[in-house]
């Protein structure tokens, strides 16, 4: 990089909702600084860039690429490889790129079932000819192609090497700004970068550390879904029987959801030292259930506990809402002859 040359920034979306792009704009007036400091060289959401522009850059041309979105299809994967090649620093930006997030919830089912729901059997669908997207379609003018839709949604680091992870759905503006400052400091003033593979823009402990609700010893008789109760404004939500993933989620957002009475959904992923957020949550929540003791007959014990366990609706979808792709097993079994 020449003395006067600005560092180059790119941002790209793979399988995502676009909220991550908005979160970058959400850093408010700092966005002007971003524009001042960086040369934006690829950012399809906000300006007209083409893939051929990207391809024409020499390798390593981009200093920082914020990659958001999961790897849902072959195009996402191709773009991940291309951006990896063209970027010095590749950041898995947001929960989708980091750990699969909402798109990866479809790892709880199969590609065929997803297509069925989206294109065929759905009250809002009118598709009498049962048309579903094909990878190759022949028309008079020639062949039309679509990317291959994978059976399994993957995180960015499952297809390319990732330098940093910035968790959150979406990441919180102060955290984004802090991370950008570190990167700018490194690029312009030679300050040290965080160690490779680090999770940046977040804490290391569990979210409960940031949560201001009052915590007592936890003991829960049954679980409630959010519509069933009006939570007490000051007490720990989990103690009130509301599933709150705070105990198995990384701090960093400032406990925004619990502060307004909604249990943590877990979008910052697992805290330091935990591989599988869902399994950890499952473990924690089961041990605070206040049901069953040694005095009971074994059958009674099992029945009583099962009753309480069954008040947790959709445990896989709840505990793995954001981390399915990064979970130990990554997807569910399809039944016979998996593919």
């Amino acid at each position: 990089m020449g003395a006067k040359e600005k560092p180059k920034l790119a941002m790209y979306w793979a399988s995502s909702c676009g909220g991550c792009e908005i979160s970058v704009l959400n850093i408010h007036e700092h966005i002007l600084t971003v524009d001042e400091v960086f040369d934006i060289v690829f950012f399809p959401c906000i300006a007209d860039f083409k893939i051929k522009d990207l391809k024409s850059y020499p390798d390593g041309h981009i200093d920082v690429c914020l990659f958001n979105g999961a790897i849902r299809n072959s195009e996402n994967e191709e773009m991940a490889h291309l951006l990896r090649k063209k970027s010095k620093i590749l950041v898995a930006y947001g929960s989708c790129a980091y750990e699969g997030c909402i798109p990866a919830l479809s790892n709880l089912t199969t590609k065929d079932a997803t297509f069925d729901k989206v294109y065929l059997n759905n009250p809002s669908i009118d598709n009498p000819d049962n048309v579903i997207p094909q990878q190759v379609t022949k028309v008079a003018e020639g062949e039309l192609t679509l990317p291959l839709f994978y059976n399994t949604v993957k995180s960015l680091d499952q297809v390319v090497n990732v330098d940093y992870y910035l968790p959150g759905c979406p990441p919180e503006p102060p955290q984004i700004w802090a991370v950008l400052q570190v990167i700018v400091g490194a690029l312009l003033e030679g300050q040290p970068l965080p160690p490779a593979g680090a999770i940046v823009g977040a804490g290391t402990t569990a979210l409960c550390e940031e949560c201001e609700r009052e915590k007592q010893e936890k003991s829960i008789d049954r679980f409630y879904r959010p519509y069933e109760v009006v939570p007490d404004p000051d007490e720990c939500l989990l103690e009130q029987g509301l599933v709150c993933l705070g105990i198995a989620t990384r701090a960093g957002c400032g406990a925004l959801c619990p502060s307004v009475g909604i249990g943590c959904r877990g979008c910052y992923g697992p805290p330091e030292g935990v591989i599988d957020q869902g399994a950890k949550m499952l473990s924690a929540i089961a041990s605070v259930m206040n049901v069953g003791d040694e005095s009971m007959e074994e059958d009674e014990l099992v029945d009583k506990i099962q009753e309480v366990v069954d008040t947790i609706a959709d445990p896989a979808g709840t505990f793995y809402r954001f981390s399915m792709a990064h979970s130990i097993l990554r997807r569910v079994k399809n039944g016979k002859g998996d593919s």
Binding site: T152, S287, G292, D293, E294, V309, K333, N334
Partner: protein, 153 residues
């Protein structure tokens, strides 16, 4: 005909009762299926559900958790917590298409070598009927893309 499928069952046995039951099964020369790969833990309550998932991704066909009978846990109620976790884990795993027979819980006191051995035999048969799990190749492979490398952290 191809050879009979020999399931691999990872067993988490607590130090105070069920591991001793397994020891007793050995010293008493009780014959049982060679499918169990025992791992000694201090208490069945030490079995983090992550261990079970890790066993599966690394090739286990089944996981057996064994502990002291309720009321006899060396740490008072570790095994009650185990039972709660186990039931919630089963609810979760059923959403993952993992059959109930693949994750089992058995209480066995130090004198119940025979009970543990019988459970291993029964579980081995049940899993043999289900067939191999082979999560890594069968579930994660064949994705229309290269198989995902396992990252050990």
């Amino acid at each position: 005909m191809s050879e009979q499928f020999e399931p691999v069952i990872v067993g988490f046995l607590c130090n105070w009762c069920s591991y001793r039951a397994a020891d007793l099964a050995g010293t008493a020369r009780i014959k049982y299926a060679p499918s169990l790969r025992p791992i000694r833990v201090m208490c069945s309550g030490r079995v983090d559900p992550q261990f079970v998932l890790k066993a599966f991704i690394n090739g286990a066909d089944g996981v057996l958790i064994a502990g002291c009978h309720p009321g006899e846990c060396h740490y008072l109620n570790g095994n009650i917590k185990t039972l709660r976790r186990f039931l919630l884990l089963k609810n979760t795993l059923s959403q993952w298409g993992i059959e109930d027979e693949r994750v089992q819980l058995q209480w066995a006191s130090a004198s119940e070598g025979i009970i543990l051995a019988e459970r291993v035999n029964k579980m081995t048969e049940e899993i043999r009927a289900l067939g191999p799990l082979r999560w890594y190749d069968k579930v994660l492979g064949g994705n229309g893309a290269v198989p995902i490398p396992v990252k050990e952290k």
